[in-house]
Subunit: 402 residues, 2 copies
């Protein structure tokens, strides 16, 4: 058979990580702190039924929902984004600069289409979102990691690496980061927007967790500080509406928007109008505020239970983050425990049956970086199960130190 | 600002064609024979409402529709494809070899990801589907055209060009082709599958119109003759269910499926599960046969009216195809009339206000090829308007010859 293109080889490593990562997620006996999916209770099932029941009519929005749509997406959904989601965060923009994507990963793919040639450098956080790395590697980019601390990516290291490696893109998840749950501080947000302008680098701000803040004070996106168009804001409706509807968006300047139009056309023409109509009506009919409060309350409770359990059941010397939003926390274990090896035991030992994502997966550096860390998702697990699972996992970890 | 990647330049020509092509489609005063969208009457609006009303419940398929789904797509929709759509056409396959895509263009993008390096050759029909060319050019491929006659692509020319150019992919729309409405004959289908195997070339069979046959005898897809896995079958639900739901699929062998899994993951993770659930239920609840009959009857009537009008109102010497299915016909005008120039007049002259797609757009050869041709869509226009529009357009053409 014909040889595959080189990109299929360069992406192989991260693709294999992803294929393995989600292997045991569907085992019903396992309490999974692995996946990053929203809680089932956070899916607006009844609301979607109510909406479709009203709008799927020939004299309502039935034709619009089922017929071909525009490349950029439905105007009223783009208005929702500008007026309801971005304006309150201090981001100004026109609906002409918003492109609706098929979920929150597609923006990363489309931006790579615009910019990335083989061997181009992309700077990422350490640790970073492994799905994004897979995309970057498919485009044959070289990913180089930038140090983080509890306030997110360290801007001194970032600037030094921008100068050294002349990257095309800096990719980051500034709010309730995947995988650490950390949030980039205000001064660094401003600084990063400036670095983009100063060094002519694209700052790709991937911000899918931002709208699920349940404690602490809100921070403006990096995009709010962008004066030159170097920051591209990507977001998703997966966490605030539904992942299955596959809706996300990009906000970019005029020049980039014109190119994004072309790359979206040549990827899949446009995003599901059925999903778009339902999502637009979800906001326009005023369902969002109550739904938002409900899911924030739900995730806050789960975070509190999880943090309490980690502090109670995990061994002394465990470090963990305290996320003010989002779906997961990040734990660093003491005593040289290897979380990749532990995962095999924690998922197969019938006394435990608990999964998480091993920290190594999120470090592009390799060489064992993060092999004492774990990403622990609490978003999709109810409090009772969080307590059971965290106790079992904590006991297993403690047994290794005995 | 940063320089765009080279692919954004190589795709610029076809991207510009596409941006212009659909410019006047939304002018309500124009009778449009331009677009390739299904008839509004062919959209199953009430059925989708009935389905969502039943399945969008927590104890039905509500969670599945709104939660993350698998990369390959919902198993039951893939079963529908294998059992209801492919088996009756003589194509065998396992659901493990079916990947659900975001519409019918995405398969072309994903297959390019698997194979295409800059400067690789892709053979296409002459004329061919301009959106596919845009994708090929984004991947920096060189498109080379193969001659067609009334029975589709000419296999002798195809074989000679396979030998000469060593293409990675042969791309064709074998049934009710876009833009000509022509159908590839049975013996050529068999021959093309053989050429793929013999010369180790991927045959990308894009077959979105196949299931809308309303006269003549059905023919098996090229894929039915494939014994080595060199033929990849791509199809879409846009014409038989709904374009807005953005559903399509690829059938490929095991090796390719594994790679398609990776490239789909790195494009947008998976296709809308909301759309997939509704579409799967559309078939499983038995709505399809009656809907299919309804839309075939509708399109047959429109084809008959359009063909009759062309024969009546267009000048002597006009050649046109007689499609046994699909949404358009192709006309070649006598007397050196330039259809690109004529389009300006036909859309702006208040006595005419009729659009079509100028033939030149579909020829990658340039140099005026096809500039006396037009693609005439009848699928989305009701019979009364077809008569009015075709008479006005025919009269305008005749006036040029007077």
């Amino acid at each position: 058979m014909s040889k595959f293109a080189k990109r299929m080889t360069t992406m192989e490593k991260s693709a294999a990580v992803i294929r393995n990562l989600f292997g045991n997620m569907n085992d019903p006996e396992i309490i999974s702190f692995g996946g990053g999916a929203p809680a089932i209770e956070a899916l607006p099932i009844d609301i979607v039924r109510e909406i479709t029941n009203e709008v799927m009519r020939i004299d309502e929005r039935g034709v619009e929902a089922l017929q071909y749509g525009g490349v950029m997406g439905l105007p009223d959904l783009r208005e929702v984004i500008i007026n309801d989601l971005l304006a309150p965060k201090g981001v100004k923009g026109s609906i002409d600069n918003v492109l609706i994507t098929n979920g929150g990963l597609e923006p990363i793919n489309l931006v790579c289409q615009l910019y990335i040639e083989p061997d181009d450098v992309i700077l990422v956080e350490s640790p970073t979102f492994v799905h994004a790395v897979e995309i970057f590697e498919m485009f044959q980019a070289k990913c180089i990691s930038v140090d983080m601390d509890d306030n997110g990516i360290i801007t001194e290291d970032l600037e030094a690496k921008i100068i050294k490696y002349k990257p095309k893109i800096v990719y980051l998840v500034p709010t309730f980061q995947n995988p650490t749950g950390r949030t980039l501080s205000l001064d660094r947000r401003e600084k990063i927007a400036e670095l983009g302008s100063k060094y002519d680098v694209i700052i790709l701000e991937d911000d899918p967790y931002r709208d699920i803040r349940y404690s602490g004070s809100d921070l403006p996106p990096i995009k709010a500080f962008d004066e030159t168009g170097h920051t591209i804001l990507a977001n998703s409706f997966s966490k605030i509406f539904s992942p299955g509807s596959r809706l996300g968006y990009i906000l970019a300047n005029d020049e980039l928007t014109a190119k994004l139009f072309d790359s979206k056309t040549a990827t899949n023409s446009h995003t599901s109008t059925l999903s778009q109509v339902v999502c637009a009506e979800f906001f326009k009919r005023g369902y969002y505020p109550a739904h938002h409060k409900k899911i924030c309350d739900l995730y806050r409770e789960r975070r509190d239970v999880m943090i309490e359990c980690i502090d109670k059941f995990f061994p002394e010397g465990t470090k963990r983050t305290f996320p003010d939003g989002g779906l997961f926390t990040w734990a660093e274990l003491p005593g040289g425990i290897n979380t990749t090896e532990l995962l095999v035991e924690s998922t197969t030992n019938p006394e435990v049956k608990v999964s998480y994502i091993a920290g190594e997966s999120f470090f592009i550096e390799g060489g064992g970086m993060g092999n004492n860390c774990m990403r622990i998702s609490f978003g999709g697990v109810n409090p009772e199960k969080i307590i059971i699972g965290a106790e079992k996992l904590g006991n297993l970890i403690c047994s290794k130190l005995a």
